[in-house]
Amino acid sequence: MMQLKALMVKEFKEAFRDKRALMVAMSMALLMPIMIVVMLKVAIKEAVDNPAVYVKYTGEQHAPKLIKALKDKNILSFADVPEDEERNWNERNIELTIPDSFNEDMANGMPVELVMRADYNEKSLATPLRRIKDVIREHSLTIGYKRLLVRGVDVKLLQPIKLLEQDTSLPSSNAVMISLILGVYLMMAAFMSGLSIAIDSSAGERERNVLEMLLCQPVSTLKIVLAKLSCASSIAVISIILMLILTSVAMNFVDLTKIGATFSIDATTFTTLLLLLIPICFLAASLQLFFSFQAKSFKEAQSTVTMLIMAPSMIPFALMMMDDKPAWVSWMPISGQSMLMEDVFKGLPVDWSALLFTSVATLTVTAAFVLTLAKKLTSEKVVMSLS
């Protein structure tokens, strides 16, 4: 026990004196709240404002009234685009062609065909295009109604059923999206924060020739691994706590009520998230140590481990894409936590049995990695690669 304590004290001392590694670990925690706030601000702005849209017209002189109607809704001609936004809108390239026969066809009561060309797959264009369509449809309907009125027909006849749409999903879906991103980011933080510390205390020590000396000492390799594991995972836990605190503080700076969403990290959410993420921190640290102890050099460890670690942190993304989730997904390490986190952010009650099960599964995998690594460290192969 005393040995373990000495080993741990030393690991922590070294980790906390390694300012650069510590900064990398904490930078994720510091960046996250800023990112969330910026994203929320953008989302709110989009939902509340009617930002100007610039359209490249052809033949605009034929339909001044339509152009005016569009202009009233802040849809402007590309000719008026301010210089700093010119490149942007040139790239988005919304074209609206008004045929030369516009006035003639309109006077004859013939249908007029306007052409709108744009990249409909481009997400940032979805709202502008919808707005343009709405204005044109409304304009067209107004003319149609007037024609019927002139002929003495009640326009109500055209609307046997009127659907009143009350769109509540749109604004809050932004908030769901943001909380999902927060979940993914938390998972990544759990995985990445301890990375540099883990590599430094394994592959780094090997390269600095201190590992051989440690392996010659009367101490079991299991204790060595446990000390390093607890240090790397503690750094990750600290980083996550910091991130959660800062995020909940940062949330005070955005007015979420504007988009009809509420989101806060209260004490219960905080504790649940921590409970979910702490086993992940241990798993991540064990994976990092496992692979970087086997790397031949510090550099190799850095590149291969970073790659390997990225893979599990992609699981939440994969889950977001999956529509039909098989049952085992909610028990597996990482995927289980990530699904539970989704529930937490959606405000659903926590499935405690699933939480317990997935935590136990995660810790079992961690223990397997630790024991295998401890065994590997006693093998000759490790010693041979020392020199």
């Binding site: 005393m2 040995q3 304590k5 000495a6 080993l7 004290v9 030393k10 001392k13 070294e14 004196r17 390694d18 020590e205 600095r208 020739n209 201190v210 051989e212 000396m213 392996l215 010659c216 000492q217 009367p218 101490v219 079991s220 000759e380 010693v383 041979m384 020392l386 020199s387």
Partner: protein
């Protein structure tokens, strides 16, 4: 007491097999300083690593105070103070913290540990280094820290792999005096070196290893006599050159 008995060790790779140890046996007794001499690649480091329990011999065994290294590696290591071939320092720790770390690993604690660390820093005359971070230490200062951490728990057996490389004259003298003191207290000291004068001045017995085997052993004087040379260096060259009939 350190005993090495008929050690065989081969390193097998895909392309070739290297026989590093080929039936090496020797004994380093308590109260004696035993020097291990051998050309580069003779198997010294492999032998010492087997002694630490880092490598497992294909055949034969090593014991420390009668404890077989392969059977109880932790017990055996408790009785060892090791100054390894390659060593590094924890550069973010101070010299004191590093020595403290190794003392704790050896099970020392409290006032006892504190006193032992103070003592070793005083003995090796490195008081002013104690509370400096080891990053930027000179080669000699690094050696001293490594020595301090190997000796702090006053092990019954010392194994030192070329302990004087990089040390200045003053430090070498300090080390020599230190080893002599430990010898008088009945400790067993095994050390390898390339400096013949040092081996001649310090060692009670010299073991010459060549090609993974014992080439000769005896006091420096005996070895000189055996080879019919006046200087140990000449005797050494002669002995490793012709290993017929000289293995005592």
């Amino acid at each position: 007491m350190i005993e090495v008995n008929n050690l065989h060790k081969s390193f097998v790779s895909k392309k070739n097999t290297v026989k590093a140890l080929d039936g090496l046996s020797f004994t380093a007794k308590d109260g004696e300083i035993t020097g291990v001499l051998g050309p580069n690649g003779a198997g010294k480091t492999t032998c010492l690593r087997t002694l630490y329990g880092l490598l497992k011999a294909d055949e034969g065994f090593a014991t420390i105070d009668g404890i077989k290294v392969t059977e109880k590696p932790l017990e055996a290591r408790k009785r060892l103070g090791i100054f390894p071939d390659k060593f590094g320092l924890y550069e973010r720790l101070t010299a004191y913290e590093q020595v403290d770390y190794f003392a704790s690993i050896h099970g020392m604690q409290g006032a006892n540990k504190h006193a032992a660390i103070e003592q070793i820093f005083k003995d090796l005359e490195m008081g002013e280094l104690a509370h400096r971070r080891t990053a930027g230490f000179s080669q000699g200062q690094r050696m001293k820290v490594t020595l301090a951490q190997a000796l702090v728990h006053q092990p019954k057996n010392f194994v030192l792999d070329e302990p004087t490389r990089g040390l200045d004259v003053m430090s070498t003298r300090i080390l020599r005096n230190h080893l002599a003191k430990f010898k008088e207290k009945g400790h067993c000291i095994l050390f390898s070196s390339h400096v013949m004068q040092e081996v001649a001045a310090l060692c009670d017995r010299v073991i010459i290893v060549s090609g993974g085997k014992l080439a000769a052993q005896g006091t420096p004087q005996e070895l000189c006599d055996l080879a019919g040379e006046k200087l140990l260096e000449d005797a050494f060259v002669k002995l490793i050159g012709s290993d017929e009939g000289v293995a005592a």
